[in-house]
């Protein structure tokens, strides 16, 4: 199965096309079946993945437009492998727990196409193919937010689309410029990232190109001044939209930094450490404070998700193995935890048709199962030891401590701030007497809801206690990347900054 990546990418797309034929009543079962098969395919990918190999595996390359240097070029390494797994898992679980009944067939087809683009982004090794899936992912998401969302859905979906589209067009110009330089130096057109890695660019070129790519990735993450589209998108999107958006789509931005910006522009990345770290810290602290001020549970989770993306960004720019591995791990943990939290909010919204905290209170006594799972996810979001959230956050802070202890302390405050607003949510909604009569009649989680959440709870605890099987392949690939960056860097400052880990540090 050397071509498993192509199967992974195109299986949901073909299924989506065939889905037009499937009857409305059976669409949901069809979607879940397809997503399950896709998830098992991605598990298969994991089992046949050689964890000791840090390089690209399952590489496929088919020239598409040789005159322009564009080819269908895919591969997977430790960094992308688990994000793909998470994408297929979250699509499956999101679909299982989905409560939408209106136009269900359109939703299933959109989700399947979205799954293709998500997997495509993370396996692409050709910049244009990456860009292709990156842009294409906007279309189904636009429809999901716009068709099933809240009252401001059209505004939210257009804002989401235009923000990302504008940023990525600047990134496209950057890509074209890199290809042009590559052509000037070698005489061949190529958009293959592995070819681009070999380019050693002068620092001023690196800075401009870093800025161009930054526009595309930072809007997607979303970094601090560009984050305004996200609360709208989350606030208006249906549950499944928020789940996929928070779990997978945002990761495209941080993944882009790891895949493109760092290895291609090591010197510029080192120069950018402080500005990016400052922006990320603002993101961490400011959005955490905003989250505390929200009245709507979903908005709290949306802002907390932005805040945690800040931690991931800091880790990426720590320029050492702990920081980057930690932030890749944190991408996974954030995906699972915030996805689960959005699902939980969606479940209570389905029952009460409100997300305002003031409407709830004392839910723990009526919905014990719900309260337990919510509590576990909340602890994981805060970063309690023995949950998945702790591992990533700890590694990120450990890594960034070597760059700047002061900034690390500020970033560490996010754990405290996170605990403040998250526990406030928990206290207001779950504890105390039941003040609202309507809440007394609430039903606890039904079987479908419980079973869609239990795997996530299991993962949260499993990877919290024993992260090694996931962390090790990530760490291998990250170290290989850092070695490579260190060799490639031109300036001495960059060489000093990029820490090449000699021995792997074990966590726990």
């Amino acid at each position: 199965m050397e071509n498993i990546l192509s199967i992974l990418v195109f299986f949901p797309a073909v299924a989506g096309l065939l889905g037009f034929v499937v009857d409305k009543e059976s669409a949901r079962a069809y979607g879940i079946t397809v997503a399950t098969i896709e998830f098992f395919l991605s598990l298969w990918l994991w089992f046949s993945f050689d964890t000791s190999n840090a390089g690209m595996q399952f590489v496929e390359m088919i020239p598409l437009i040789p005159d322009m240097g564009i080819s269908y070029y895919v591969g997977v390494d430790g960094i992308s492998l688990f994000i793909i797994l998470m994408a297929t898992l979250m699509t499956l679980i999101g679909m299982v727990s989905m409560s939408i009944t209106k136009n269900i067939k359109n939703m299933i087809i959109s989700l399947l196409f979205l799954e293709m683009t998500m997997v495509g982004v993370f396996v692409a090794l050709d910049a244009i193919i990456f860009y292709l899936f990156w842009e294409l992912s906007l279309v189904p998401m636009l429809y999901i937010i716009g068709a099933w969302g809240g009252p401001l859905r059209v505004y939210a979906s257009i804002k989401f689309f235009l923000y990302t589209f504008t940023g990525s067009l600047v990134m496209l110009v950057g890509m074209l410029f890199v290809a042009y330089i590559y052509h000037n130096l070698t005489g061949v057109w190529s958009f293959a990232i592995t070819d681009w890695y070999a380019l050693v660019l002068p620092v001023n070129y690196q800075l401009w190109l870093f800025a161009a790519f930054f526009m595309g990735f930072a809007i997607k993450v979303p970094m601090f001044p560009f984050h305004t589209w996200l609360p709208y998108a989350h606030g208006q999107a249906p549950t499944i939209g928020s789940v996929i958006l928070a779990a997978v789509l945002l990761k495209m931005g941080t993944y882009g930094f790891v895949r493109f910006s760092l290895p291609m522009f090591p010197d510029a990345s080192v120069i950018a450490i402080t500005p990016v770290a400052v922006l990320s810290l603002i993101m961490v602290v400011y959005t955490a404070m905003v989250a505390y001020a929200q009245k709507d549970i979903k908005q709290v989770i949306a802002y907390s998700s932005v805040s945690h993306m800040g931690i991931i960004m800091i880790g990426v720019f720590a320029m050492n193995a702990e920081g980057i591995s930690g932030s890749v791990f944190q991408m996974l943990s954030h995906g699972i935890v915030s996805g689960a939290l959005f699902m939980l909010v969606g479940m209570i919204y389905d029952r009460r048709h409100t997300k305002l905290m003031s409407e709830f209170g004392g839910l723990a006594s009526v919905m014990p199962k719900y309260a337990v799972i919510f509590g576990i996810m909340l602890m994981a979001a805060v970063g309690l030891p023995l949950t998945i959230g702790f591992v990533g956050e700890f590694l990120v802070l450990l890594g960034f401590y070597q760059v700047s202890p002061v900034m690390t302390i500020i970033a560490g405050s996010s754990i405290i701030l996170g605990a403040v607003y998250m526990l406030a949510v928990f206290k207001k909604s779950f504890f105390g007497p039941i003040t609202n009569e309507e809440n007394k009649k609430l039903k606890d989680l039904d079987r479908r809801e419980t079973w869609s959440l239990i795997p996530l709870v299991a993962i949260v605890i499993w990877l919290g206690v024993y992260p090694k099987p996931v962390l090790e392949p990530i760490d291998n690939s990250v170290k290989a990347m850092l070695n490579f960056m260190d060799e490639k860097a031109i300036t001495q400052e960059a060489k000093d900054m990029i820490k090449v880990a000699q021995s792997s540090k074990e966590v726990k």
Binding site: D67, F165, L169, L176
Partner: protein, 496 residues
């Protein structure tokens, strides 16, 4: 006593005229058939036109590159071959739009098809010559036919459109004639290759620049009218609105290809001579055109007017590629139009099949956005396909226009105009907004009224065309490579 002039038939190289003669003969055949039997159905004429164009296409393919003929006024170089192929292919895919289920006035006249073929021969003359007089003749033949075709639509605003287009076209023709006259006065020749020779030897003469300035400005105005560049674009939305959707879609591609070829020949010559301000004038016009048209398109209430402004903006995009004056820039022009053609065909066909005899949704417009509201609920396939064309026009990969866009931007980057590439990128982002507007109406809003009959004009042939356009739009990634390499080869073979 004058010696009798002997011209050997051999030296005329009449084969270079063959493609145009095929089209003209075809038009005459259609007229004769109408004389013999006036009861023939339009479907016969449509098919006959396609067949004639097929022969025409074959004849062009058989031409040798870099030949001259017919007293050396015909120039068959790579550009003229690919542009003729593009013109014929564009005509072939647009003419079947006449096969509507409802009866439209113009198609009941065989003259429509004869004029259509005469127009194509006019365009072919225009692109297959570097003689300013023959270009003028071709331009006028084509334009006069086109004015008539628009007016044949037999509605108040199509007369308005035709007259407006005619007046503007006449003005452009006058500018063209004056520009050519200045060139003739300056160099004593109307053949562009001789003009280039003379100019290059005399370029540092004092006072020559003023004359060069005069000629190039006059010619630029003439072609800015034809290509609808700012500030000469104002006719375009009204004309598109008045013309039938089929013809409007046609006008946004084929006449512009012909005008671009002549522009490459004329302005490419000026830029090659090192007259930098011609390049800058074109660049500035192009940037203003794409930006302004994009902003205007944002505020339109009618889908057809929006598409009209969008095609102005696309023309600005391509004009910028022309100013680069590199082989890649010129390839980009043809590649862009070749890819744009399919998507545009699809988009305008979708408008055409949703055309009602009377305006049911709005007093003023045929295709207001409200007409398409909630289309996903009424006709999911139609909405998906139309949405696809909109995303393609917006430049979302992997649909066809994206590959044209990326090639233009790459050409700009390669020529050192990175700011231009960024301007193009930002413009695409503005453009995305108005294309999304239609998508939003179709997918995210609820239907307004009587929606079951949006696709009033649909029938099987039109569905086949839409299917073809969809396939061509979606699978672009697979045929871009042969297309690029062929175009690049042909253009570099003719020395541009």
């Amino acid at each position: 006593m004058l010696e009798p002039i002997n011209v050997s038939l051999e030296s005329l190289n009449l084969i270079t005229l063959a493609p145009m003669l095929v089209a003209i003969t075809g038009g005459l055949i259609i007229l004769i058939m109408d004389l013999i039997n006036s009861k023939l159905h339009k479907s016969l004429y449509v098919m006959l036109t396609i067949l004639i164009l097929f022969v025409d296409f074959g004849t062009v393919l058989g031409l040798n590159v870099n030949e001259r003929g017919f007293f050396d006024v015909m120039l068959i170089d790579g550009i003229s071959i690919i542009s003729q192929l593009l013109i014929i292919a564009g005509s072939m895919i647009f003419i079947p739009l006449a096969l509507t289920s409802k009866r439209f006035h113009e198609y009941s006249y065989p003259e429509f098809f004869a004029l259509f073929l005469f127009m194509i021969s006019g365009f072919q003359f225009m692109v297959a010559s570097d003689n300013l007089i023959l270009i003028f003749v071709g331009l006028e033949t084509a334009s006069l036919s086109l004015y008539t075709l628009i007016a044949l639509h037999n509605r108040a605003n199509s007369y308005e459109a035709a007259v407006k287009y005619f007046t503007m076209g006449a003005l452009a023709a006058a500018f063209f004639a004056m520009g050519s006259a200045v060139i003739y006065a300056l160099t004593g020749s109307i053949e562009l290759y001789k003009v280039a020779e003379v100019l290059s030897t005399r370029l540092n003469e004092t006072g020559l620049m003023i004359a060069v300035f005069g000629s190039s400005v006059l010619l630029l105005v003439a072609f800015a009218f034809k290509i609808s560049l700012f500030p000469f674009h104002t006719w375009a939305p009204d004309v598109y609105e008045g013309a039938s959707a089929a013809l409007a879609g046609y006008m946004s591609v084929v006449p512009k290809v012909a005008a671009f070829v002549v522009s490459i020949r004329i302005f490419g010559m000026y830029i090659d001579l090192g007259i930098e301000w011609v390049r800058w004038t074109i660049l500035i016009l192009a940037v203003i055109t794409m930006t302004l048209a994009n902003i205007m398109a944002l505020v339109q209430n009618d889908v057809k007017r929006m598409l009209a402004y969008s095609s102005i903006s696309h023309a600005g995009f391509i004009m910028a590629a022309l100013a680069l004056d590199t082989t890649e820039g010129n390839t980009a022009i043809f590649l862009y139009y070749a890819l744009f053609m399919f998507t545009n065909l699809g988009a305008f066909t979708m408008l055409w099949i949703s055309r009602h005899k009377v305006r049911r949704f709005d007093k003023r417009y045929d295709h207001p956005y409200e007409k398409f509201a909630g289309l996903i609920q009424i006709m999911p396939m139609g909405a998906v396909v139309m949405g696809l064309f909109m995303f393609s026009l917006a430049g979302v990969p992997p649909f066809s226009v994206f590959w044209g866009k990326i090639y233009v931007m790459q050409a700009a980057v390669n020529a050192g105009y990175i700011w231009l590439a960024i301007v193009m990128g930002l413009n695409s982002a503005i453009a995305a907004y108005y294309y999304l507007k239609l998508v939003v109406y179709m997918f995210l809003k609820d239907p307004v009224k009587d929606v079951d009959v949006v696709y009033y004009n649909i029938n099987r042939p039109l569905m086949v065309i839409v299917g073809f356009a969809t396939a061509a739009t979606v699978t672009a990634i697979f045929y871009v490579q042969p297309l690029v390499s062929y175009l690049y080869y042909m253009i570099s073979a003719s020395g541009y």
